[in-house]
Structures are given as structure tokens and as C-alpha cells.
Symmetry: C2
Subunit: 375 residues, 2 copies
Amino acid sequence: MSKEKEFVVTPWEVRGEIDYERLIRDFGTTKVDTELLERIKKDAGELHLFLKRGLFFSHRDMNWILDRYEAGEKFFLYTGRGPSGHTHLGHLVPWMFTKWLQDRFGAELYFQMTDDEKFLFNQELSLKTTMSFTYENALDVIALGFDPKKTFIFSNVEYVKTLYKIALEIAKHVNFSTVRAVFGFQNTTNIGMIFFPALQAAPYFLPSVLEGKNIPCLIPASIDQDPYWRGIAREVAPKLGYYKPAQIHNKLVPGLGKGGKMSASEPETAIFTTDDPDVAVKKIMSSYTGGRDTAEEQRRLGGRADICPVYHNYEFLFVPDDKELKKLYDDCKTGKMLCGECKMIFASKLKPFLKEHQKKREKAKGMLDKFMVKD
Amino acid sequence: MSKEKEFVVTPWEVRGEIDYERLIRDFGTTKVDTELLERIKKDAGELHLFLKRGLFFSHRDMNWILDRYEAGEKFFLYTGRGPSGHTHLGHLVPWMFTKWLQDRFGAELYFQMTDDEKFLFNQELSLKTTMSFTYENALDVIALGFDPKKTFIFSNVEYVKTLYKIALEIAKHVNFSTVRAVFGFQNTTNIGMIFFPALQAAPYFLPSVLEGKNIPCLIPASIDQDPYWRGIAREVAPKLGYYKPAQIHNKLVPGLGKGGKMSASEPETAIFTTDDPDVAVKKIMSSYTGGRDTAEEQRRLGGRADICPVYHNYEFLFVPDDKELKKLYDDCKTGKMLCGECKMIFASKLKPFLKEHQKKREKAKGMLDKFMVKD
């Protein structure tokens, strides 16, 4: 493997330039192909931009879930968030897609805030802090327009009485060797982190436990979270008599730095939903791009849109119109448009997006009670 | 070490003839000596039979707890039970002593039912079963006469929302190497068991968390449970800013078989509080004793009271009168009294004890609400 191709993708670390084709092979998932897209389009009545643009690129058992759905059986959605800080654009991607799935398939959503995990994993974070980010992040989820009747957001710490019983059933079937192999845990890993995968997996079975019958589960989430369901949920589900959860995985939205995903630990390269729009624009102006060393060189050789985080943000989030996207791509590649101009365009799209989201986020403060479930 | 001296004492296994002097050295505890007994007598106003007879033989920081008490500071008691089956006489011993401590020192008691642990540890037990034994065992605790205003009995599963936050703080300071060394956990140990010591330790700090100030804790319990506080609570307490819990340890009440402790896993050698008194008497009649192979030999050589579980039951529970105990001992050792006669005496003491306890246990069914705390 050449040095350029080195990358790491785990639930706690994403580094390097990610080869998504290789991830599919390494993780043993299946590529989202044209046939599956057609089927989703038929069942959903339309195709979400994230599917058209290949952002959701990998899956497990999607055809099985659609078999069930087409046979009149309901499924539920599960996804979540590790509340270690404010929400950034990269977090919104799977949630926006989840919202679309809820609308199109009439599915209930269980949304897990792993405030326990983030406390256990990060020496710097207090439990009080991660629990407060549970609520901050929940505002962003609610702002996306989920149906309060069908959406259950919970903090692990505040919902543990419900989750713990299921987690115990899971934990009885998972030993240290397994979590060492799946998550790379060491002898120095704290015993809270070692147990956490059992609690993380509990929501997959929660609706089945609550309703007393097996209900299929679909998990839309970033590919880096895959070890949880590959190594734990899918292994244990049959032993407990539950369905294995199906999954659909998105690529990681790149940050404004070079390589990796948008990460809260590099705040200058991440656009937070709580950023003042003018601050966000400043981050854009300092963004890494696919530009050349000099304007002259770029006019001559063209920019490298394919490795440019600004372009990926257009592709994934901000330019749904295909023609407009193609023009931006071509203007970059031909050297017609330089990075400064392009960043201005990005800023002009981001600012109203942020303002609108922040308005909805403010409104969400009065709706927390409708969405949050506790013991 | 000679073969006869081989023994094992862990929270999950007690085997062989226990050398208590060696346990004190191995575990690093302190012997309960005459000086400490005098001090307890002064503070409590009397000395409990279990102290006089050396059943509570080992401790940690008892003088520190009494310093605090004498300085007018209150302490609380913590003990518990792994509800894997019905309560037997061996379980009652630390609880009876705990009741005496509550009365004499006016202390609140937090009583933990580790229904999660017993489920995780035992392949045969369902969570439903261990949770139902939580309530069965609680009846025995209540039957001993604890003060409902000062006694808080809880199931880990039903009180986990309160305990989990504290357990997370503990777990962050305990890694796999530590629990492997302290409890002998392996790579094949399930991740629930690996986390459990953190939840087990949570009640030591619970009153301090609830009241927002440091409150000393005294743990009366069997010596086999020592690893929990030696390896976990005492190590972590200073890191979280809490006092280390003090402890006083009892010897294990022998079962009616040879060696080891009274154990629910050998029901024919254990007298359960729920046993029909006539069934209990039959168990006594089949008990292992310190008797000789033939009556002739026993008349000639005398019995071996010192290794006889029947005699130990007199010593620890059923014969508080020193003169009566001495007569039983002498009559055995001189061969004057054979085992059959002695067992009849045991039966005559056990039957009314069981009947009385069962009456109180029945009454306790109406009092569960006063004692059980839940989230």
C-alpha cells in the first residue's frame, strides 16, 4: 500500500484519504448499485440527492428490508450521535437522509445520544458536558423536521433503565476477545468502554422488546460506525432471536482541511450549526481546496475539484441541481474559476442555509419534550 | 502448601478448608483484635455475638470509622446480595450483624441486589429469574427487622439510572488489566461481567453524591467479596475525591457438607430460609459432621467439634450462651454425645428459628414498598 493510500476508519478515528471501494471489501458490506437504487426509487417514490450522488454508497440487507416493506411489514430506523461537541455539517448528512427515510417509508426513528461513551472515551470531557451536548445536538435533529409522533431521541444516561436490560442480554454473548478484535480495545481500555458496545446495540432490539414481536431495523449512518453492528449487533441478534439490523452507509463529509472527515476536534475545519454565519464564512475562506500553488498555474492547469472539500460540499449538500454542479465542476477543472471566487459561491449558499437552520434550531428549544424519551 | 491446605476464595468460588489467618495476609486486611473489640463495645454499648465469637475476624479502617463516629460524624452501611436463589443461613450472618450496626450506630443502610451480575455470570439463569430473587431475598432482609426509614434496598437493574452515572465515573478509572488481576477475568469473560465491578462499587459513593458531601461508608460482608473494594473501590475512591470505604469481614458459615461455605449451588448442604422446617431437619440429619467412623470409635476418641459444621452453626448462630456452648463442645470432644443426639439438638434449635423467620418473612411481603428504592 503506497503511503498516499494509507487511511484509518474506526468509530473513534478517521484519518487519511479514504478508499471507499476498499472499505466495502474490508468491512464486508455491499455496494449500493443501480438495481438497488431503482428499487428504492420505486418504493420511496423518488431518489434522495444523497443516493443519486453516491454519498450513500454501501449497505447490508437493504433488499431484505425492502422485501419486508413491500410485503406490508413496517420497519424502524435507528441512528445516533456521540455528543462530544456541537453538531457540524458532517453530522447532518445521515440525519437528513434519515428524515427522508422516515417521510418516505413512514418509519419510526430511535435516535441514540451516546453521552456515556463520549465521557468514557475522552479524558477531557465531564459527564455533565456530554449530557449537555445531548440536548444541544438534539436541537439540530429536531430542526431537520422529524415527525415528533414517530421520533424518539434519548440520552443513554437518562434512558439507561430501559436500555440496560437489553444490553445485559447482549453483553452475555460478547466477550473481551470479540471487542478487542472488533474495536481494537486493549488491556488499558477502561471497563466502561469495554461494556459500551452492548449498550450501543440495545436500541436495535428495543422496539421489538417493547412491542413483543420482531421488527426489522434499518440503520442509516456513516461507514465509520460499522464495527458496532458488524461485530456486535449482527453477531448477537440471531442468538437472541432478533433480526439482524440492515444498514445503509454514507461516505464521510470531508472537513475544510486536507483529508479525513469533518471533525469537531479540528474546529477550524468544521462548520458547526451553531457557528455565526460570518465566522463560518471565514472558515470557508481559509479552507483547503483543490487549487494550485499560483493563480497562473491554476488558470493553465485547472483546479482539482475531485479532491476539493468545497466541491464535495456542493456535491453532497449545497448544489442539488445537476447542471449547476456540472458548471461549477467544469469551471474549476478548466481553470476558468479560481478558488477565491468559488469560496464566495460556497459562502453565498452556506450563509442562508445556516441562518435557516439556526432559526429552526431556536424553535426546537420549545419542542424538546415532544422528542426526548427518558425512563 | 500441603494439599489439605489448598483453598480458593473469590467472589464466585469458595473451595477447600479456609485458612483465615492466611486470607488476612493475602488480602492485606487487619485482624479484629482485642483492642478494636473494646473500642466497638464502648461505642456500641455492647458486643455482638459474632464479634465475641470471632466470626467477624478481619477489617479495614475500622478505627478510622470509629474516629469519625466518635467525632460526631455519621457513617452509612453498605452490603448486598447476589440474588441467584433463595437465602440460606450463611447469607443471614452478615445481614444480622448489619442490623445490629444500624441499631447501635444509627446508620443508614444501602442494600444492593446484584441481579445483573447473577444473570451475567450464570448461563442457566434468566434476568427474570434473578430479578424475582431480588424480591424473594429482600423479604429475608426485611424480616430481620431493619428500620424502614433508614434502609434502602435496590435491584441494580431497577436502580441503574441512579447508579450508572456513578459507575461511569468509576469505570473511567478502571481498565481491563486491573479487573483481570483483581477478579481473574479472562479474554473469554463477557463484557457485562467486565463492567460489573464499576456498578457494584457505585453504592459506596451514592450517599455522598446524593447529599453532596463526603460520607464515610462501612461495609460488613463476607471476606470472599473483598476483591470488589480492595481492587476497585479503594483504588478509585481517592481519584474521585471520596473516602475509601471501611470494611469488616466475616468468616464463611460452613455448609452441611465437607469444607467450603454454605452454598445455594449445593442445596442439600444449605438450609434455606424458605425450607419447610421438616425438610431442613432432614438436611441436618444427613449433614457431614466431625464424627468418627463408628460409634465405638467416637465414644473412645471423641468427636471433632472444631471441623464440624453443626458445631460451627451453634457457635455462630444458635447457641449464644457461652456455658451451653462449652457443654456441647465438651460433650462432643469427650465422646459423651454422639452426632445423632447432637443433630437432634440442632434440629430443636433450628425449627423454631425457621418458623419465626418465616412468619416475619410473610409479614415482610406487605412492607416491600417501604424498603425498595427504584429510579
